[in-house]
């Protein structure tokens, strides 16, 4: 990651401004909003997997937890500010506990995968079996398979009657994504971020250098969950109904696919992968010639086989090959060779 943070900030502001201006001309803002939400969700896994080397099979759990926290709190509070904050804090706290359990137990690789998968399954099964009237938190029925409809959606802080929806909600989401993107950039530039990448590359070496690997992985895991939780709350506001399918393995799988397709070890990759594939899914819904699951599966297999680095790094590489001479000085995206090593096993 070359250049300075302020440079990053300028780029992010320019690109966000441009996209906010151009995209609504082509796609309805309602659809764009969900693409942004998924982009943020992709970013959350891209951060912990691409830069921290933690392959979480249960990122959907934090997404769903954020969404459910928001809905339950919103029904009880009747205003959206506190629920938004809770929706970030609860998944982060949950992830910190789960992460501490895993990382202090020195679980790695597949075992990490199994635990995150199992925890997601437990949440999924639990939420799915809460249809009965005894499952109530304050005024909010958990609703089981049918989910929670009809909660207070986003409003201007302090005035519950002033809803933010439609186009203005799109702008809120877009700005939030830009802010989160900036914060992730800042985090990765900090010593914390560089050490996280160091841990990804060689955990033993980093711990011998005196860093507390377990605490740092736990912290990064919690940050990822916080972002996923925020995305969940934004999703809740967009969909206005929540169902347990948010916690499903299919949802987790999709997040992983977004990251793979977009490109691991980049910040932009997971965001673009998520938005692109979600839009593809939306478009596929308008045809019925080929089964959509089949296409999703095929995309994943082909990417793992032929483009394991993902689209963004590949396009960047192609760009470099085709237009090899870089302008001197401001070489923005000269990639560090180390960073390209795939996170594996």
């Amino acid at each position: 990651m070359q250049g300075s943070l302020s440079n990053d900030a300028i780029k992010i502001i320019l690109i966000t401004g441009f996209l906010i201006w151009v995209m609504p001309l082509m796609i309805s803002t309602y659809t764009l909003t969900i693409l942004i939400v998924y982009g943020m969700l992709g970013l959350s896994l891209g951060l912990i997997w691409g830069f921290g080397g933690i392959l979480c099979f249960g990122q959907a759990a934090f997404f769903g937890l954020g969404a459910y926290t928001y809905a339950i709190a919103a029904i009880n509070v009747g205003e959206s500010t506190a629920p938004m904050i809770l929706a970030v804090l609860v998944p982060a706290g949950f992830a910190a506990l789960l992460g501490a359990m895993m990382f202090y137990g020195r679980l790695n690789d597949v075992y990490l995968g199994v635990i995150t998968l199992v925890v997601t399954l437990i949440l999924f099964k639990f939420i799915n079996s809460t249809a009965g009237p005894q499952y109530v938190i304050g005024n909010a029925r958990l609703g089981g398979f049918n989910g929670i409809p009809g909660f207070q959606t986003l409003n201007i802080p302090g005035s519950p009657e002033a809803y933010i929806w439609g186009d203005s909600y799109f702008y809120v989401c877009a700005v939030l994504l830009a802010v989160v993107f900036f914060l992730v950039s800042a985090l990765l530039r900090s010593s914390f971020g560089r050490i996280a990448v160091g841990i990804r590359e060689n955990e033993t070496r980093m711990s011998l250098m005196g860093y507390d690997v377990r605490a740092r992985k736990t912290a990064l895991f919690a940050v990822g969950a916080a972002i996923a939780g925020l995305a969940g709350a934004l999703f809740a506001n967009w969909a206005e109904i929540l169902t347990p399918s948010l916690f499903s393995l299919g949802q987790s799988a999709e997040i992983i696919i977004w990251c793979i397709v977009g490109g691991l070890g980049t910040r932009m990759g997971p965001v673009l992968g998520a938005a692109g594939l979600a839009y593809l899914k939306f478009l596929l819904g308008q045809q019925s010639a080929v089964d959509n699951t089949l296409i999703t599966g095929l995309i994943l297999v082909l990417f793992v086989l032929f483009l394991p680095k993902g689209v963004v790094p590949a396009v960047a590489g192609l760009w470099k090959v085709s237009f090899g001479r870089r302008p001197l000085g401001r070489t923005h995206h000269q990639r560090r060779p180390r960073n390209r090593e795939r996170v594996s096993g």
């Binding site: 679980l107 199994v114 089964d291 297999v301």
Partner: protein, 288 residues
């Protein structure tokens, strides 16, 4: 009294079906350290192969025990040649690729068979224990699981192929140096693993309503059982299937099937936290 016999049979059945569900995955994982996330879909295809064969008028036992394993084994062979073999040694990549395959097969099965539930009825009549009727087919599943474990043990211990397989499992480079092609051995193993998955899917088919997404119900359980079992193939499979099967059934009878499932999952989390290398990473070390 009668009830306790029924509960015992149900427990044995739960253990046996876990063994069946997990064996294909365990063989592939134990041998080649490949986690095949399309395992559930292999089982689903085993089920469809059986149902299709039965509908064509083939004897149900022939369909379950021969045709389904063969069909799925061949599909597995194709998958290994086309996809898996390019990814050996890249654990996470194989998981992702096979996850993609699982979605692909779900889509394919949906296009061929549709999402309507299909199924066949069990070939074995019900069975009375005192005042209780139980499913006679449970015994069939228990027998198949026992035979399967014994067969695996005999093949691995007493045949030349088993010896080579065990050698490759321990040190594939040495096996290669001795003139055995790991590529061929892996191919054969994957075929066997897929065939076992097909067998499991086929044998369980008469008990369930089959849809293209049925595999999803198995994969998590199989995955958990295999990982919790640890490095030894048969001891691991047996001990973790036994543990989870009993936990599941105890809570199912005491409270409800949902709590049974959740108890199984929580037991898995606790077990892996305490024994991060699986049961046989600590106990029964060096056993098969």
């Amino acid at each position: 009294m009668d009830l306790s016999v029924v509960i015992l049979v149900e427990m044995l059945y739960a253990v046996a079906s876990l063994i069946l569900i997990s064996s294909g995955l365990a063989v592939v994982f134990g041998m080649m350290k490949v986690i095949n996330l399309a395992h559930g879909e292999f089982m689903m295809m085993g089920g469809y192969a059986t149902i299709t064969a039965v509908n064509l008028g083939i004897n149900i036992f022939l369909a379950m025990l021969v045709i389904a394993p063969l069909v799925v084994g061949l599909i597995g062979l194709a998958v290994e040649r086309l996809v898996i073999r390019h990814l050996y040694g890249r654990l996470v990549d194989t998981m992702l690729a096979t996850w993609g395959l699982s979605l692909f097969f779900i889509g394919l099965a949906t296009m061929i068979f549709g999402n309507t539930t299909t199924g066949i009825s069990t070939p074995i009549p019900g069975f009375a224990i005192g005042n209780y009727q139980i499913n006679g087919y449970n015994f069939f599943i228990i027998v198949v699981a026992i035979l399967l474990l014994v067969a695996m043990l005999v093949i691995l211990k007493n045949t030349r192929a088993g010896l080579i397989a065990r050698g490759t499992m321990q040190r594939s480079d040495m096996a290669a140096a001795l003139g055995y092609s790991p590529d061929r051995i892996y191919m054969a193993t994957f075929f066997c693993g897929s065939a076992l998955s097909g067998l499991a899917g086929a044998v369980l088919a008469p008990l369930v309503g089959l849809v293209p997404t049925s595999g999803g119900a198995y994969i998590a359980k199989a995955f958990i059982t295999v990982i919790a079992g640890g490095p030894s193939l048969i001891a691991g499979l047996f001990s973790s299937a036994g543990f989870f099967g009993i936990v599941n059934q105890v809570f199912t009878f005491a409270i409800s099937p949902v709590i049974g499932e959740v108890a199984l999952l929580i037991a898995a989390v606790v077990l892996l936290r305490l024994l991060p290398q699986g049961i046989t990473g600590k106990f029964f070390k060096g056993k098969l």
